[in-house]
Every structure is written in structure tokens, then in C-alpha cells.
Amino acid sequence: MKKLIKMKTQYYLILVLVATLTVSCSFDEELDPNGPSLAGVEAGASVRQLNEIAIGIEATSRDGHGIETTVSGSMARELYLFDADPRNTGNVLGKGGTVLDNNSFYSTTQFAGNYRTIKNANVLLEALDNTKVIEESEKNLYRGYAKTFQAYELIQVLKSYGKARIDVADDENLGPFLEFDAAIAAVRALLDDALNDLNTSESLGQFSFPVSGFGNLIDTSSETPENGRDDDESVIVSEFSLFNRAIAAVAAVYAGDGTGALTALEDSFFNLNGELNIGVKHVFSQGAGDQLNGVFRAPSKSADEPNNGDQIIVHNSWINDAEVNSITGLIDERVTAKTAVRPAPSIQDGLTGSHETRLYSNNVAPIDMIRNEELILIYAEASILANSLTDAQTALDIIRMKAGGLGPKDYGTPSPTAEQLTAEMLFQRRYSLWAENHRLFDTRRYDLTSTLPLDREGDRRFSVLPIPLAENQ
């Protein structure tokens, strides 16, 4: 009896142990509860997902734009950014002989934004190759859109960094960095490729996803949109092609190809006598998941109230160098339109400025990606390159008059030289495109970096941002 009990206890014991150890559970493969998976979208996107990524491309093309503008503007001595981050008036201006760091916000933010957009475009291209939900011709429409944005972003990279990695479709196997000339050639080819894609699908009329910021490229108010969508958002393909060619003209000028630029301009929305502000814009809103205008700064209220601390301060040289209309005695209208006198001059970090920015009226004001004013200047530059000096002179005088309220330029000779016109063209670009991320690249490509003013003992001039550390260059 006793033995039996003992046996029982042992069996019980073993049973418990075995039961304990054989209890198991199998976990299901985890899905991210917080977002759609990239692999899933690339392998088999729905129409809705294709459209979402297409919109994402446009949305992310604004990433880093604010910092891009203030950093390049500071480096080009167009402005100072007086804010909490001392690097904006330190490193960026080479204060005390410091150099630009390749792992600080000013060298990485823009770069990350540009390549994020490029990646999103590549995700769309990959998804298009694999999805079966739409026809090939419609796929080309998406492709043309994606490649145009890629090219635009690559130009931004080249302007700030002087070189770019072009082949980044496979993130595990990146292509090399190309020097400027090779890279800009690749960008031009990409734009032509994009145009080709758009042309093969032009019969479809318009994009099946909304594109913002193209509101006024072509007046389509008389047309009835086929799908009844808001007209501003249904960008027709031919309209987008105008944008593609405008970018192509810019790329051609940057590549030194004046003729090529003039050809591209013909198919763009360039209009020598047209409204200067027509163009494609980055739009902003306070909506969820959206972005704000990163270059807007709240204006100082009045002389009674002290200055607001966080401001984009205009570099005094830009005010002081501005031309005065010899007849009216008024300063270049671009100065009065884009800036305002601070109630009191600002001093920070040994820098002084009397004016603040008024480039944008509020924090959701759109920012131009490219507008007719720039295209007229591109036309002038292309004409100089193509040796059509009279055309250049005409274009520049149009800018002087329409944008600056100035009379025609007196070169001291009726037929100014290419050098004179180039100087005038750069001067007009300096005022027409102030704080729009052009001056740094303009001074670099015309070897004028050394002419930039230094404001403090020990400051340095930089013409290009260092490639971010993570690229392992």
C-alpha cells in the first residue's frame, strides 16, 4: 500500500513536470500595427497604394527645405539665422576658423530629404514594375512623374553638395558618387526619360492622383474636368510636362548648354512677357501629417514691441548693394517686398542686421519650386551661353523693370559684353531669387565664392556642403 502511494506520487510528479515542459505556444509572424510594410507595397501595390506613394513623393520633396534655404543663404551671406542653434552663426559661417562638419544638421538635413524623396520615387517605380492592377501606359504616367521629381531632387543635391549619387535604386547596392558634370548629364537624361514616359501616356490626360502646387501653370478654368475633381488638384499630363521641361532648362544651363536650355524652355511654361509668379509650388498646411513653410518667420510687430528673437536677418550687404531707381530714387522693389526694417537692429554672436525677412506672409504660404521669373533669368543665362546677347539683355531689363521697378540697365555701351551681361544676370538673380537657395550655387559656378563678404575676424567662406558622414566618402 505504502509503495503504491509512493509510486503514485512519483507518477504525479513526473506528469506535472512533463506537462510543464511540454506546454508551448507558437507565435504568429508579427505584422506592424503602425504602418503598411514596404515589402508588401513593392510586391503588390493596389491603385490606392500607388497613389499614396505618389503623393508621398511630392510631400517629402519639402523635407529639409527650410534648413536647406537658411544654411545656403547664410553661407552665401544673403542672411543670418538668429535662433537657438548657435551653429547657424558659428560653423556655417566658419566662425573662428571652424570648418563645416559632415555630421551636423546643416549638412545632413537637406541631403536626407532629397534622397528620401528619390527613394520614394524608386519605391513607386519598383511597385509599378510588380503590380498588375494597372496598364503599362498608365504605369508610364506614374513613372514620368516619379523620375521628374527624382531629377529635381538631384539638382538640389548638386547645388549644395557639388556631386551626387545617381544610382540608388537598390539600397543594398548603391552606385558611386558622380562628379558634377557626369551627374548633371545623368539628371538631364533622366528628365528626357521622364518626358518620354509622360508622352507615351499623354492620351490618358491626367494623373489619377492629386498633385498640388500646379494651380496656375495653364489656365484650365474653361475645361470641365472629366472626373469632376477639383481642378487645382487634377494636373493634366501636358501641364506636368511643362514643369519637366522647365527643370530640364535649368539643368541644361547648369551643364553649360545654352542651346539645350533654350530648346527646353520652348516646351516649358516660360513666358518672357508673362506674369513672373506663375510656376510650380511647394504647398503647406497645418493639417495632420503635413508640413509648414520652413522659411517663414513671424514678423516683429512694431517698434513698441521688442524684436522677436528667432529671425532670419537680412545680410546688410544685400540691402546696401541694392540698386536705386535713378529716376524715382526708390530702392529696388524686391528689397522692400521681401524684407522689412527691424524695430531695432539685431546683434547676435557678433553679427548685426537691420532687416528681417518678409518673403512669406505666413507659415502655410507656398514656396516656389520654379517660377517664370527664374525661367526668364535662365533664358537670359542660356542666351549668353548661346551668344544671343541681345536676347539676354532684353530679358534682364524685363526682370529689372517688372521685379525691381528699375529702368533698363546702362552698361555704358549699347551692346554689352557677355561678361557684363553675366555680371548683371547674377546680380538680378541675387535679388530675384534672394533666400531661395540659389546664391551659393551661383557664386560657386561662376567662381565668385571669394567675393562673398566676411563679417567677423576669422570667419570662413564655404562654397559647398560636405557629403554626410554616413555616405562613407
Binding site: 513623393i57 517629402t60 560653423n91 551636423s104 549619387r165 498646411s285 528673437g309 548685426t352 558622414l469
Partner: protein, 1001 residues
């Protein structure tokens, strides 16, 4: 029938043999065991005739009676929680034996497996134990982690905020993870508790870069330190291996107070105190000349600009002069940080019970104001712990704790143009500008920064409140209870539910909001539910005639943690409104996560005559956090302790303990939730929903693992009056999970994956001595010494700046580099300014201290006065003081009137300039208590009151340091990952003074 007859005969035989002996030598000693100092009876104390198995125990009042064979004799008096005492008795009759409460009790047991424990004397690891007395006995403590400063070897505590109510990070034996979890696993009464730092979303108003820059508290703050009976700290993998994949950063096992049975004891205490800023940096002693020089920049090339600058500087001088004539400069540091915060804490608990059921119920309320107006922390905690014995087979325990805590932390830490963080605002605020509201309550704008600190202090809010329920349970089933074999089944676990609400409000009239967001509200609703359960079988087997004890256990464990963060934000507020609803622009984000772990474990412990004690164990874990959720990872352990002093040949009386020990173990840590996924995130434009790539996941990610080898020597001299514990460890962390910067051209910025190996090695020494013991003077002391060194031994990617742990190589950052310590700070330094030598990366500092020491001393004077102090010394280690960067830039650093300060201003603003030594010596705790003699107490209150004690104490009394800012213990990036030693505009640390009153009924 037959058997019984036989038995009866035996009985008679025994009776016949022993009766004469008993009759011959019957000497009875009676008396009372009393607790030294308190004078109250000590219940359940063992009294054994030394060298025999003849013994008894004192009753509930401490009375005992023991019959011994002959006199004189020696009685050994001992009990858990009391020092062992030998008493020589020469004559029979009434005696009084005084015993003293001890934390170094020989028989102290330490948890080593999930279902078993072992006597400290037999332990093969250096497990630090902190008793209630050590934890909260000296002075008032807000949080458990903050209370551990200087009390444990091998621990490094970082404070990310001086705000009341948490903001601490515990590192055990160096860095165990770079990107993942560096915080130990906290287990309270068997429940895995949540120690999350919850971001409030204030970064969307302040411009801070990440949630970890919001200076949130860590939620261990919800646990009332006064409830704790003891804390055991398993510092490394060799001790913590049986906890597997959650134990890479060590395990902190917290046991709360439980009823001991007997008379119901009631204890009441009231603490009253103040928070005062530890150190003020002070106002720069401006002169009119220095004002002018600070704001004038000569510009010989541009006379117009120079003139403008001159005028601006002159305007500042005029404002300065004007201020001097109208009441002087305003010390805004004092205005913001100079508040005296009031602290009160009331505690009441009762414990008692009978043989079957024991209980402990305790409640406390702590209310603490910070050194900034409108900041503070309060916590209401109520606990009920019940142990019930159903039968000889079943018993169960329940531990229930409800906590409600609230804090108001205001705005500190890093920001970008928010105008909120005081450190930033103060750095740029000039003391001649009056920022106080006028008669109708309008606050002037700050001319030099987008925020008026007075306005922010008075009107902006950053608050959180927590409702928390922690419920633990344990059911023991004794299946078999025989002499040589005991088998029990333990089913335990618990739930930790935390409901957290955060609230940030920045009025639309705040300077930084005007023209921007136009008012901001963030309301967080965050819910966390954690379950864990274990089923363990434990088999105790005795063999070799009792010489060999074997404890075998095996079991399974399951863990599930759910979190749901919802943050709703509103901007562009309707005038004066404080609800998200009353805003024009709204945004919500949500992050959900569920993680599950499942594991098997088994362990065998063998103990041969307390001479050789060995353990072998293995744990297998899988987790949904890993790339393959069903792949098991194994974590072995093995250890051996040899008690040389227990070996038969040992005859050195003075050395009562000499133990050599060695242990090896492995643990793991899975990646953070989400690391396996590459997902798309919303990125909208023009009112249309877009998707974008974000971070890159690793679908093959596996846990990072630690393998630790530890050896040690424990020595006890003169019955452990002096004891020494020495340990050396070497811990290799393999497959470290890193969030590395990927080439930005991939379109991603970071990827989290297994990339590196790291080694930590270190030394820990602890000496404790009862230096002096006499009637009127007792002194015991403890000295701890420890150090840790780390090195990255493998890195698959080029060296990189750790994201989220610094501010780029321009200003200094943690930098992961093969062959270097993981704690190094690196900056891009140009050695000759503009000269021919190009700038290059350079190690500018290392936050790892050379060593740390703590001196803990307790004195008892004239039986009734207790004096104690704890001195902590951190030698070496550097901080990156970027607060100074801000004050230099704003020209407000306190030393800028000195040649040294001006010379600093002239140097390049790089990491080298802001690296400062961060060593210190600090009087961490000091206290004096007076215990009313028991006669006085009974004279005053009769039988009602048992003991009364009162005293004064202080925390952070003084600090000797070369560090120029508020506190060398600082971290701008919260408690996670690699964070410590980088300072940007912190909440300054406080010094606390208390008056205490304790009454026991």
C-alpha cells in the same frame, strides 16, 4: 498492530535511557530577547545551546525559556534580520538578551533561481542587497532608483532631470546595450514592472529633436520606496542568466514588506522637508563696459555696420544703466530656480496576522514641490500584501498595489526655438530687461529669445498623471514533503497596468507661439498592460545522509506586454482655451505594440555540507521581438562556490568565512518593438494622404547577448564583524543591436540591426565593519569601491556618431568606434583654428568614471541617538556641458567677467571647449535621529505607543566638484540607450532637508 507494539517498546526504552540524564542536569534559563535600542521584545528569535541541537524560540513578546544540560553554557541567539549573538550564561534564571537588527545577517537568503533561493554565505555571485533600512532609513526618498545612489557596487545612476518624481537611469556594470534596453529588469513581488519613460509631445512646441529630450520621468517613480523590504540586484549575466532574454542589463528584484504574524504592529511616520536648488551658477557681474564690449562687434571694413553695432551696444548699456537706477539687475536664475519647494510625506502601515494568515497594509502620500514654481510631484500609494496557508499542501500570497501619481515638470532640456526651456531662455535673457507682467497682467516679450521665462513658469503646463495597479500572486503546492524529498509546484506572476495621461499646454500668447503655432496643446493617453506568469516545479533532494542537498527546478514562463500610445495635439488655439478640441489644427499619432516572450528553464543546485555549492542552469527563450518569433535562444549558466572556512581542516577561528566563487552565465536582450519592420509612414500634402519610407528594419534581427564570467572572494573576520566582498567580472556583449546611420542616399536614415561586440570588465569591492561596539557608542561602516571599463571589440560598420546621443561631431557626440570605450565623446576639432592642420575627429572625453566609491557610516550614541551619513565619490569621467555653449552665446555665463571666461569665448565652439571633468565628492545622505527611551515612551503613553523616533536628515548636502554647471549627474537624452554626461539646459538638482517623526504602535 505488531508495529505499534514495537514502537511502544522503543518509547519505553528511550524513556529509560534519557530520563536520568534530564533529571540530573536540568538547568532552566528564562528571559527576554529585546531589540537593542528600541527596547521592545524580539519575537521568534532562535535561542540554541551552542554546539548542540537543543534550542527554542522566543514568543511573540520576546520571552523564552530554555533548559540546558549544564551551566555555564553558551547560547547562540539568531534570527533573520538580526545579528547573531553569543551569550555566556553562568547561572540559571532570568536574563535579558539584547539583539541588534542587522542587514548583514549570516542567514540572509538570496534569490538565485526563479523558484529557489540560497543562503548568502553560499552564493557564487556578488548579489547586492539593499535593505529597507539602507534604502529609506536615513532620509526621505522620492523614487526607488534615486534612493540607490551610493548603496550598491557596480551601479551607475544618471539623473536626466532634477524635477521631482523621477528621471533616473540605472546602469549595472557598464553599458550592456547601445541602442536597446540599458535599464535593468525590475521585478516587484514576482511582477515584471514597467519603467517606461513616456514622451508628452511637448517637442512639437519646443522643437526638441526627439521624445527622449522631453525630460519625462521614468515610471519606476510610481513605486513607493517605503513599501520595500529589500532589493536584490543581480548585476550581470552570470547572476541573472535564469531570467534569459529580458535580463541583459541585470535584474532588480524588489520584495515588499509582508506581515510577520503576531501582534498587529502599526507604524506611523510623518516627514516634512524642503527642496532647495543645490547650486546656483550666479549672475554675471556686469559692468557698463562689459555690456558694451559684449554686444559691440567692430567692423573696420564696413563703417556703417560698425556704427549700427555701436548704437545697438549703446542701447544695451543704456538699458543696463537704467536697470541699475531702478532697483538693480534682475537675477532670473534665482527667479526661476530659486523656489523653496515644500515636501510632506505621511505613511501609515499595519502588519500582523496569525499562523494561517499574515497581512501587511500600508498607505502613503507624498507631496513634493520643486525648485521651480508650479512644479511638483505627488503620489498616493496603497498596498495590501496577504499570505495565507490553506493547508500543509497549499499556500498563496497576494501583493496588491494601487498608485496614483501626478507630476508637473515644467519645461527644461533641449529645444529649438520653442522659447520654453528655462536653460535656454535664461542663457539669452539679459538681466536689465524687465520681463515681469505689468499691472494688468501683460508679460513683455523677451527681446533676445522667443520666450519670457516668467510667462512660461506662470502660464505654460507640462503635467502627467498616472493610475497604476500592480497585482502579484503566488500559489505554492507542496506535492511531496518527505525527509529527503520535497517537491513543490509554484505558480506565480502578475499584472502591471498603467494608465498614463500627459498634458502640455502652451498658451497662444506665449512669445514663441505668436505668429507660429498660435498656441499648443498635447494630450497623451497611454496605456500599458503587462502580464507575466511562471509555472515552476522545485524538487529538493537530500542525499549522502544529509550532506548533499540538491535543488532541481524546471519551469516555463510567459510574458506579454501591450502598449498603446495616443497623443492628440492641437495648435492655433481659441483664445484662452485649454482643450485639444478648441484648436484649429489638430493632429493625432498612435503607436501600438504587443510583445510576447515564452521560455523554458531548468536549474540544478547542489550543496555539499555548505562547503561546495554548485549550480547549473539553462534557459530557452523566444520572443516576438526577434526576426523569427519562434526561434529559441539558449542562455546557460554555471557557478561554483567553495566555502574554505567550512572545510573540515579549517581551524582559523578569526576567519569565519573564506569563500572563493566563480560564475558564468549568459543573458539576452531583444530589439525594441518595431525593429523588424520596414514600414511606410504618412506624409501628407495638400490635404491628400501620402506614404513615405522612414526607417529601415531588419527582418533577421536577433537578440544581443551577454556572456559574463565573474570570480570573487568573500571573507568574514571575527564572526563577520569585518567582511570583505571582492569581485572581478568580464562581460562580453555580442551582436549588439545598433541603430546606425545608413547612407542617406538609401533614402533611409537609420537601421537597427546586430552590428557589434562590446566588452565590459570591472572590479567591485565592498568592506563592512562593526568598528566599535560598546554600551554608549557603536559605529559600523561600509566602504564600496568599483570601476568598469568598456571597449567596443567589433564593429561591422565604420565608426559612427550614435544617433540621439549627442549633437553631432561639431558639438560632441557619443561615437561608436572599434577599440574605444563605448562611453567616449568625440568631436571634430581643428587643432590650430584656421591653420594648416585640418580638423579631425578627436576623443574629447569619456563619461565613464575612473572609479566610484561610497562611504557609509552609522553611529549609535548613548543608545538612543543614531547618526548616519553616506559620502559618495566619483572619480574621473567627463561631461559635455552644452549649457555653457548657450550661456556663452548669450554672453550670460557667470565667469565672463574673468580673463579665463573671455579667453574661452575666443576659442572655437567645438566639443573640446565644452568638455569638463565631472568627478565629484558628495555628501549624499546625512541624518540624526533620536529614539525616545522606552521608559519615557511608556511613561507618556502607557502601553499604547511602543516607540517614538524623530530626527532630521538631508540629501545632497554638499558637492565638491570642478564641474561648472548645476550637477555633474546629468543627461539631456533621458534614461534609455547611451545617455549620460551630455548637458543641455537641465532641471537643476535639488538639495533636500527633512524633519522626521516615526511612531510605532
Amino acid at each position: 498492530m505488531k508495529q505499534q507494539t514495537h514502537f511502544s517498546r522503543m518509547k519505553i526504552l528511550l524513556f529509560l535511557i534519557f530520563t536520568p540524564v534530564i533529571l540530573l542536569a536540568q538547568e532552566t534559563i528564562t528571559g527576554k530577547v529585546v531589540i537593542e535600542g528600541a527596547g521592545s521584545g524580539a519575537p521568534f528569535v532562535n535561542i540554541v545551546e551552542n554546539g548542540t541541537d537543543n534550542g527554542t524560540a522566543s514568543d511573540i513578546d520576546g520571552n523564552f525559556s530554555i533548559t540546558v544540560q549544564a551551566l555555564p553554557t553558551r547560547l547562540k541567539v539568531f534570527a533573520l534580520g538580526f545579528g547573531t549573538k553569543m551569550v555566556d550564561v553562568a547561572t540559571a534564571g532570568e536574563i535579558t538578551i539584547q539583539v541588534s537588527e542587522s542587514t548583514e545577517s549570516l542567514e540572509e537568503v538570496v534569490v538565485t533561481g526563479l523558484g529557489s533561493s540560497v543562503k548568502r554565505a553560499n552564493l557564487a555571485n556578488a548579489v547586492s542587497t539593499v535593505s529597507a533600512e539602507e534604502l529609506v532609513g536615513n532620509t526621505g526618498q522620492t523614487t526607488v532608483d534615486g534612493a540607490l545612489y551610493g548603496k550598491v557596487t557596480g551601479v551607475n545612476i544618471t539623473s536626466s532631470s532634477g524635477a521631482p518624481g523621477g528621471g533616473f537611469a540605472l546602469r549595472l556594470r557598464g553599458i550592456s546595450s547601445i541602442n536597446g534596453n540599458n535599464q535593468p529588469l525590475f521585478i516587484v513581488d514576482g511582477v515584471y514592472v514597467n519603467n517606461v519613460e513616456i514622451p508628452s509631445g511637448l517637442r512639437f512646441a519646443s522643437g526638441a529633436n526627439r521624445g527622449n529630450e522631453e525630460n519625462s520621468g521614468n515610471r519606476l517613480a510610481d513605486l513607493d520606496p517605503n513599501d520595500i523590504e529589500n532589493i536584490e540586484i543581480l548585476k550581470g549575466a552570470s547572476a541573472a542568466a535564469i531570467y534569459g532574454t529580458r535580463a541583459n542589463a541585470g535584474v532588480v528584484i524588489i520584495t515588499t514588506k509582508r506581515g510577520k504574524g503576531g501582534k498587529t504592529k502599526i507604524s506611523f511616520s510623518q516627514d516634512t522637508g524642503v527642496n532647495i536648488i543645490q547650486k546656483k551658477l550666479g549672475l554675471r557681474p556686469w559692468t557698463a563696459e562689459s555690456v558694451f564690449n559684449s554686444f559691440f562687434s567692430p567692423n573696420p571694413d564696413d563703417p556703417a555696420a560698425e556704427q549700427e553695432s555701436r548704437e545697438a551696444a549703446e542701447a544695451e548699456v543704456a538699458a543696463f544703466q537704467n536697470a541699475l537706477q531702478n532697483g538693480g539687475l534682475i537675477d532670473y536664475e534665482d527667479e526661476i530656480y530659486g523656489e523653496v519647494g515644500f515636501i510632506t510625506e505621511t505613511k501609515l502601515n499595519a502588519s500582523g496576522g496569525n499562523e494561517k494568515t499574515k497581512f501587511y497594509v500600508g498607505g502613503s502620500y507624498r507631496d513634493e514641490e520643486g525648485i521651480i514654481q508650479n512644479t511638483g510631484f505627488d503620489r498616493f500609494s496603497i498596498r495590501g500584501n496577504i499570505d495565507h496557508k490553506l493547508s500543509d499542501v497549499f499556500d498563496f500570497s497576494l501583493s496588491s498595489n494601487y498608485v496614483r501619481s501626478n507630476s508637473s515638470r515644467s519645461f527644461t532640456g533641449n529645444e529649438n526655438e520653442g522659447g520654453l526651456s528655462y536653460g535656454y531662455t535664461l542663457a539669452f535673457t539679459r538681466p536689465w530687461n524687465n520681463l515681469f507682467p505689468d499691472a494688468v497682467g501683460n508679460y513683455p516679450n523677451n527681446p533676445n529669445y522667443p520666450g519670457n521665462p516668467i510667462f512660461v513658469r506662470d502660464n505654460a503646463l507640462n503635467e502627467d498623471s498616472n493610475n497604476r495597479f500592480i497585482q502579484g500572486f503566488k500559489l505554492n503546492t507542496k506535492i511531496l514533503n518527505k525527509e529527503a524529498d520535497k517537491v513543490k509546484l509554484i505558480f506565480n506572476g502578475g499584472v502591471d497596468y498603467l494608465s498614463n495621461e500627459t498634458y502640455v499646454y502652451v498658451p497662444e500668447i506665449h512669445q514663441g507661439q505668436v505668429g507660429n503655432q498660435e498656441g499648443f496643446i498635447a494630450e497623451g493617453n497611454n496605456n500599458f498592460t503587462q502580464f507575466n506568469t511562471q509555472l515552476i516545479s522545485v524538487w529538493d533532494h537530500t542525499a549522502l545522509g544529509g550532506d548533499l542537498g540538491l535543488t532541481t527546478q524546471a519551469g516555463i514562463s510567459y510574458l506579454e506586454q501591450q502598449a498603446d500610445f495616443v497623443n492628440s495635439r492641437g495648435a492655433n488655439l481659441f483664445g484662452g482655451q485649454t482643450s485639444v478640441d478648441q484648436s484649429v489644427n489638430q493632429a493625432v499619432d498612435q503607436i501600438q505594440s504587443t510583445q510576447k516572450d515564452f521560455g523554458y528553464f531548468a536549474q540544478v543546485e547542489g550543496n555539499y555540507k555548505d562547503q561546495f555549492i554548485g549550480t547549473l542552469g539553462y534557459r530557452l527563450d523566444k520572443s516576438t521581438l526577434n526576426g523569427d518569433p519562434n526561434e529559441f535562444f539558449g542562455f546557460p549558466k554555471a557557478s561554483l562556490a567553495v566555502n574554505i572556512a567550512n572545510l573540515d581542516f579549517w581551524n582559523v577561528e578569526a576567519l569565519n568565512q573564506l569563500k572563493l566563487r566563480a560564475a558564468y552565465g549568459e543573458t539576452g536582450s531583444s530589439a525594441a518593438f518595431g525593429s523588424v519592420f520596414t514600414s511606410l509612414v504618412p506624409s501628407n500634402v495638400g490635404g491628400n494622404g501620402g506614404l513615405s519610407v522612414n526607417t529601415k528594419g531588419d527582418p533577421d534581427i536577433k537578440p544581443e547577448t551577454s556572456a559574463e564570467f565573474e570570480v570573487g572572494l568573500d571573507v568574514g573576520i571575527l564572526n563577520s564583524r569585518v567582511s570583505l566582498e571582492a569581485s572581478y567580472y568580464n562581460r562580453k556583449v555580442s551582436d549588439l543591436i545598433l541603430s546606425r546611420n545608413v547612407p542617406l542616399t538609401t533614402g533611409f536614415t537609420t537601421q537597427t540591426t546586430n552590428l557589434a561586440d562590446l566588452v565590459n570588465e570591472g572590479l567591485e569591492l565592498a568592506v563592512r565593519a562593526d568598528v566599535f561596539e560598546s554600551e554608549n557608542f557603536r559605529w559600523n561602516t561600509g566602504v564600496q569601491f568599483y570601476l568598469n571599463r568598456s571597449e567596443v571589440t567589433r564593429l561591422e560598420v565604420p565608426a559612427f556618431a550614435q544617433p540621439g546621443a549627442g549633437f553631432g561631431t561639431g558639438l560632441g557626440t557619443f561615437f561608436i568606434e572599434e577599440g574605444q570605450p563605448v562611453t567616449q565623446i568625440v568631436g571634430n576639432i581643428d587643432p590650430d583654428g584656421d591653420g594648416p592642420i585640418p580638423a579631425a575627429l578627436q576623443q574629447v572625453g569619456n563619461v565613464e568614471p575612473d572609479f566610484q566609491m561610497a562611504f557609509n557610516n552609522q553611529f549609535t550614541l548613548f543608545k538612543n541617538i543614531d547618526v548616519a551619513f553616506l559620502l559618495q565619490w566619483k572619480q574621473g569621467g567627463e561631461n559635455l556641458n552644452l549649457s555653457r555653449f548657450l550661456t556663452d552665446l548669450g554672453q550670460t555665463s557667470d565667469d565672463l567677467e574673468t580673463a579665463e571666461g573671455q579667453a574661452r569665448l575666443g576659442t572655437a565652439a567645438d566639443a573640446l571647449r565644452f568638455t569638463e571633468p565631472a568627478g565629484y565628492v558628495r555628501l549624499r545622505e546625512a541624518s540624526i535621529y533620536y529614539r525616545l527611551p522606552s521608559k519615557t515612551v511608556s511613561g507618556m503613553f502607557g502601553e499604547v505607543v511602543e516607540a517614538i523616533k524623530f530626527g532630521v536628515s538631508a540629501r545632497n548636502v554638499f558637492t565638491i566638484t570642478d564641474y561648472s554647471s548645476y550637477d555633474p549627474e546629468v543627461s539631456v537624452n533621458g534614461g534609455a540607450g547611451l545617455s549620460s554626461g551630455i548637458e543641455v539646459a537641465p532641471f537643476p538638482s535639488a538639495r533636500q532637508f527633512y524633519f522626521h517623526l516615526n511612531v510605532n504602535l
